[in-house]
């Protein structure tokens, strides 16, 4: 593992983190306002939800290929697909979090004279943080996993050394094991970081509310 670190594994890991980070950030930026919209206008929740569930049934390998005619063999193609999958995982969690405020709490907030906007920003949103982070955990861990498939299109990420190793007549075990291990460790590390973030943001929710 050490001798391949500099030339293959190190750069692949950095590229993998890049692919994942870009996808999750864009996914968050898209899913958050959509969730606010679906929270405000409840009729929108079903169509949005059904659309994202439909996206999820599309196999990643097929979606990557499907996008090539539109955006070519580029990082953009990979990111469009990855963002689509993060939406599927972020949106329902965000909406569930925002809609999950107990009715007594809402009544109390209104009784204290808060406007609808104040209720959202001061009551519903803080209470939704555990669910939002729960969604981010699923999205990050899954994106790390799906991003390995991206290597079929682009020589990028931890999937690439694995695909190369598989092409050999007798597959190179070291590449497969070390790149695979790195991918799993990366996923679990990201997950642990988000759990840590939740502890900092919502110290009252120690026992897995998300």
């Amino acid at each position: 593992m050490q001798e391949h670190w500099g030339d293959t594994l190190g750069p692949a890991l950095v590229q993998h983190i890049e692919l994942t980070l870009i996808a999750v950030v864009i996914g968050f930026v898209l899913a958050f306002p959509l969730a606010l919209l679906a929270h405000r206008y409840r009729v929108l929740e079903q169509p949005f939800g059904a659309f994202s569930a439909l996206l999820y049934t599309i196999p990643s390998l097929a979606l990557f290929q499907f996008l090539i005619p539109f955006s070519g063999l580029t990082t953009t193609t990979v990111e469009i697909a990855l963002v689509a999958y993060t939406l599927v995982m972020l949106f329902p969690n965000f909406v569930a979090g925002l809609n999950g405020t107990p009715s007594e709490v809402l009544e109390a907030a209104r009784g204290m004279g808060l406007t609808q906007r104040q209720v959202l920003w001061r009551v519903e949103l803080p209470l939704a943080v555990p669910a939002i982070i729960g969604g981010l955990r699923i999205a990050v861990v899954s994106t790390v996993a799906i991003a390995t498939i991206a290597a079929l299109l682009l020589p990028k990420g931890l999937g690439y050394p694995i695909f190369l190793a598989l092409k050999e007549p007798t597959p190179f075990k070291t590449e497969i094991y070390s790149a695979g291990l790195l991918a799993v460790v990366l996923a679990l590390t990201c997950d642990a970081l988000l759990v840590g973030l939740r502890r900092v943001l919502v110290p009252w929710a120690r026992k897995g509310l998300a």
């Binding site: 049934t57 390998l61 090539i68 699923i138 790149a179």
Partner: protein, 234 residues
């Protein structure tokens, strides 16, 4: 990688490829379903009884939930490649790798489904003098069916969607075409990808229909076709 120029006309060529190769694509699709079906059977056979028993005794929540977190973090490609080195190229290694992928959601949901059955209902059943196995068969299992089936559906869609990747390790199926652009050109790759999309949508719908059929009538109001991942808590 050989690159054809890709533009929207490629879709026209892809549909032409599908039209010209219907029998070939159908046999590849069946090959893929065979692999996915075998893998799903194994994961159901392992995860369902385990989840049901753990849920019945309300034990091992950490194991049941942890499996799904770890399972999500295991990239399918890594699993397939690893089992290839252990079991050699071909059907068996892919079947085992895909079965591992399916185990997480089924275990988590069957545990959760049984574990969360209303305690009052269980108490009432015990009060009526039911034995443990009667309670399980007549009360807990019927009430947990929607959730258990959601887990099986998530697993099935995941397995069918991942099966094309198995082609890199001799798994056959539509993936053979997708990973072989040199022979089939982009039009063939795209045509096969469209078939894969159709196949997983069909599997999703078929399982949703079966789910409605096996759900006891009084429980049918609950949402059946929703986000497949929603029930799977992390």
């Amino acid at each position: 990688m050989i690159l054809d120029t890709a533009n929207l006309h490629t879709f026209v060529e892809a549909f032409r490829f599908i039209g010209d190769n219907q029998h070939f694509l159908l046999s590849k699709a069946l090959e893929q379903l065979e692999l996915a079906g075998a893998a799903l059977l194994i994961s159901v056979a392992i995860a369902l009884p385990a989840g049901v028993v753990l849920g019945h005794y309300h034990r091992g929540a950490n194991v049941a939930i942890g499996t799904s977190i770890v399972g999500r973090g295991l990239p399918s490609l890594v699993l397939i490649a690893t089992f290839l080195t252990l079991l050699g190229i071909g059907f068996v290694n892919n079947m085992v790798a895909l079965a591992v992928l399916g185990t997480g959601p089924i275990l988590t949901n069957s545990f959760d489904g049984i574990d969360r059955v209303d305690r009052d209902a269980v108490e009432a059943a015990r009060g009526m003098g039911m034995t443990d196995s009667q309670m399980l068969r007549r009360v807990e299992l019927p009430l947990a069916i929607p959730m258990i089936f959601t887990g099986i559906r998530v697993a099935a869609v995941t397995i069918v969607a991942t099966a094309p990747i198995a082609a890199v390790a001799g798994g056959g199926g539509l993936g053979d075409i997708i990973v072989n652009q040199a022979s089939y050109r982009l039009a063939g790759v795209l045509g096969a990808s469209l078939c894969v999309m159709l196949l997983s949508a069909l599997v999703f719908l078929a399982l949703a229909a079966i789910q409605i059929a096996v759900t006891p009538a009084p429980l049918r109001g609950s949402r059946v076709v929703g986000n497949p991942r929603r029930k799977e808590t992390l």
